[in-house]
């Protein structure tokens, strides 16, 4: 079979695969539809270039196959053609870059009304902390982490007292309310990633990183670790439950604050001491 035919089938196959693929995006459940749209745009422009270049190549393979005695054209340069191609490519690239940068600008500017969530990662698990009535999270330090202070909150920080502790790998979020995810890790790199929300960012020990999104579909989602973190990486899962305002607030009311947790431990300690005395 002629080589050109096989190459042509490869290109046609690629297009058909793209049209009929059963493997595609998980349904989006956040505000980042712009990312999907930019991907679609890039598919059209980039895919168009790919198909055009390959078809031109295949045309040449058919049309200019070797014949004894025939001569190729001798034309080392074509300044005009090269200029046209350079500018057309530059324009195409700029058209793709522009929406990409616009969306990135939204990504790095967190809305004022976003609720902050402290996502703490370790090998291999997650836990979460929400601000209390004061709306502010207390500062933390790795060295403070202990049984009675699982998040390492600075005991002197007044903002920390009413922080809400979620010592579970599942966090609940309120639907249609922007969330600022504050990521930290106590050991190695991790990445808190929910495919349906599209967004992600590494958790880096020694610093706090962030990103934001606005969930817009009630439901349960799986959290995956998306930055390699050792042998348990593939099993480091968590969960998100997106709820309506009423359900969310009911859930929030059931959670323990740092103060309550400290008191519980103190009581445990006291009880423990009493037992020891007896």
């Amino acid at each position: 079979m002629h080589a050109g035919i096989i190459f042509l089938l490869v290109i046609i196959g690629s297009i058909l695969f793209h049209i009929f693929t059963p493997w595609y995006w998980t349904d989006i459940a956040s505000n980042w539809k712009g990312m999907d749209d930019t991907i679609t745009l890039t598919f059209w422009v980039g895919g168009g270039v790919f198909v055009a270049v390959c078809l031109f190549m295949i045309y040449c393979v058919f049309r200019y196959q070797h014949k004894e005695g025939r001569r190729a054209e001798y034309k080392p340069e074509d300044k005009k053609l090269e200029k046209i191609l350079t500018w057309a490519t530059t324009l195409g690239v700029a058209a793709l870059l522009a929406p990409g940068l616009i969306i990135w600008n939204q990504y790095v500017n967190v809305p004022k009304n976003a609720i902050e969530v402290d996502v703490m990662a370790w090998q291999w698990g997650w836990q979460y902390r929400l601000p209390g009535k004061d709306g502010k999270l207390g500062t933390t330090q790795v060295r403070n982490i202990a049984d009675n202070n699982p998040f390492g909150i600075n005991p002197d920080d007044p903002f920390g007292k009413d922080d809400i502790m979620v010592e579970s790998d599942v966090i609940n979020l309120e639907n249609n309310r922007p969330v600022k995810i504050l990521l930290r890790s106590v050991d190695v790199l991790h990445n808190w990633y929910v495919p349906q929300f599209r967004a992600k960012m590494d958790a880096v020990p020694g610093t706090v990183t962030f990103y934001w999104f606005e969930p817009n579909k009630v439901g349960e989602y799986e959290v995956l670790c998306a930055e390699y973190c050792g042998v348990g990486h593939y099993a480091m899962r968590g969960g998100v439950e997106v709820q309506d305002k009423a359900d969310y607030e009911a859930w929030l009311g059931e959670q323990e604050t740092f103060e309550q947790l400290s008191a519980r431990y103190e009581k445990l300690n006291v009880d423990g001491n009493k037992l020891a005395k007896k």
Binding site: V10, W23, T42, A72, Y74, E77, G100, A226
Partner: protein, 612 residues
Amino acid sequence: MSDEYDNNKSYQAQSSEVMDGSTGSVSPDIDYVRPSEVGEQELYHPHSFIEKWVFCQDAKVIGVQYFLTAVFTGVVGLILSWLMRLQLGFPELAGFMTAEHYYQFVTMHGMIMVVYFLTALFLGGFGNYLIPLMVGARDMVFPYVNMLSFWMFFVAVAVLMASFFVPGGPTGAGWTLYPPQTILEGTPGAGMGILLMLISLSLFVIGFTMGGLNYMITILQARTRGMTLMRMPLTVWGIFTATVLAMLAFPALLVSAIMMTLDKVLQTSFFMPTILKAGEVLEYGGGSPILFQHLFWFFGHPEVYIVALPAFGIVSDLISVHARKNIFGYRMMVWAIVGIGALSFFVWAHHMYVSGMNPWFGFFFATTTLIIAVPTAMKVYNWILTLWRGNIRINVVMLWCLGFIVTFVNGGITGIFLGNVSVDVPLSDTYFVIAHFHMVMGIAPLMVIMGAVYHWFPLVAGKMLDEGLGKWHFWITFLGAYSIYFPMHYLGFIGVPRRYFEMYDSPYMTSAVGMNEFISIAAFIVGAAQFILIFNIIKTLKTGKKAEQNPWKANSLEWYTSTVPPEHGNFGDRLPVVHRWPYDFSVPGAKEDYIPQTTAPSEVIHTEVEKT
């Protein structure tokens, strides 16, 4: 013919030409080539078997040594990829494999293929063999250092392979070796394994620097008379620019390897912040894991082009020779290679959009990354415009070139997805990335390597590889590799993260089971098909057809040596004198459809050659 053009002026050149002994004949002034300014290099000829084949100073033998060692590591990398695909496609058959094994295989596969296979093959292998031949030199300028370079590489490979056999096994930190996990418990091979990896990388960089000095200085200083920079084959331009990149980029790797070794051995904290492990605070504090990533990618991104630029150069030459047409827009091609090389130092953090670095960097690095797409696209246009109105031989070499164009454009386009910062957010750390970089810097350069092997084998071994076997080799490899990596992009859209030992039961991931099985089967077949080449080489060496000199009717100097295969010193008594670029194919008025670089203008006086 030359009589017509004989005039008094032509004698001006004569005296100097006699001085360097190259020619005593009278030549017309259109043939004038500046005399050489320095005397010829003295070569150390081998006196024993060991000096000839083991500790050899001939760049061609060193090139073959590099090539064979790199291919050996490549076969190891290939076997590791089989094991990974067995686990991903058919975990029930891979019961012997633990997560530790899997991550060790992932890591070693990545590091071997990028550094010890591709880099060593292109620069150490093709660079050593082709640079002196193509620029018309007798050897590299520092043959002894060149020999040391190979043996340093050999020791680096030995140390790397030794890590398979130490307690704890090789490192399983991922080829990017991101701290802190790389040197902590919880990552396989965090003891001896990672130390050997860091030592091996350091040795590789030292060895490479010895070779790189040779490639650069040979190209700059040892070109033959008439071989101006703008008459060099693009292969040489590609290897030269890649070498400059490597000389600037590898120090960043060396530095980060040294710092990490100190963090590991002496508990310094270059990259280590305060860390809580198993309830205890470790004796680290204040270091920055992101600093390592900057250093790593300052090396790592140019590294991509260290592999790509030689491939760009070589494929340009192969396409031109086998399409019987000059490479279209030679000057644009040269400037694109140099421009891509320079730009490649300003894009590194596009690997780090979601690393936690200051997010405002994203604007800068997305812009530089997409700018690099322009010269890269120009190269693609020029390759297909070289085919246009050509006289294309559809032989095995050309098939590999066409396969390269398809896979490279495919992988280049997906690069625009990943470079465009906000599009990268959902796709980074997923299988989309795996598919992208395997297509663009795995399969595409591999296509070029294979094309180059079929193209230059007649020169190296003096025999023609079997075309029939070559076609089977190509089609299985191309169709197989394409069906591995093209569908793999879509796993990334689903959101399947990379470096997962097991997919578990997430609903959107179980939908990928069928595809993973398919990909694994394709990977087994493609891997096995590479042994067709090894069989072909053995068969050809034993019973193959003897190659005539210059079987492809190419113009560049490597085909005009005194013997085939070329002996030590390459060009016999007299170095060639160059009168033109290597792309004078199908020149109107010429008798043959090619004019070698050594042909003087007066010999082809009726042709309409453009001045080069």
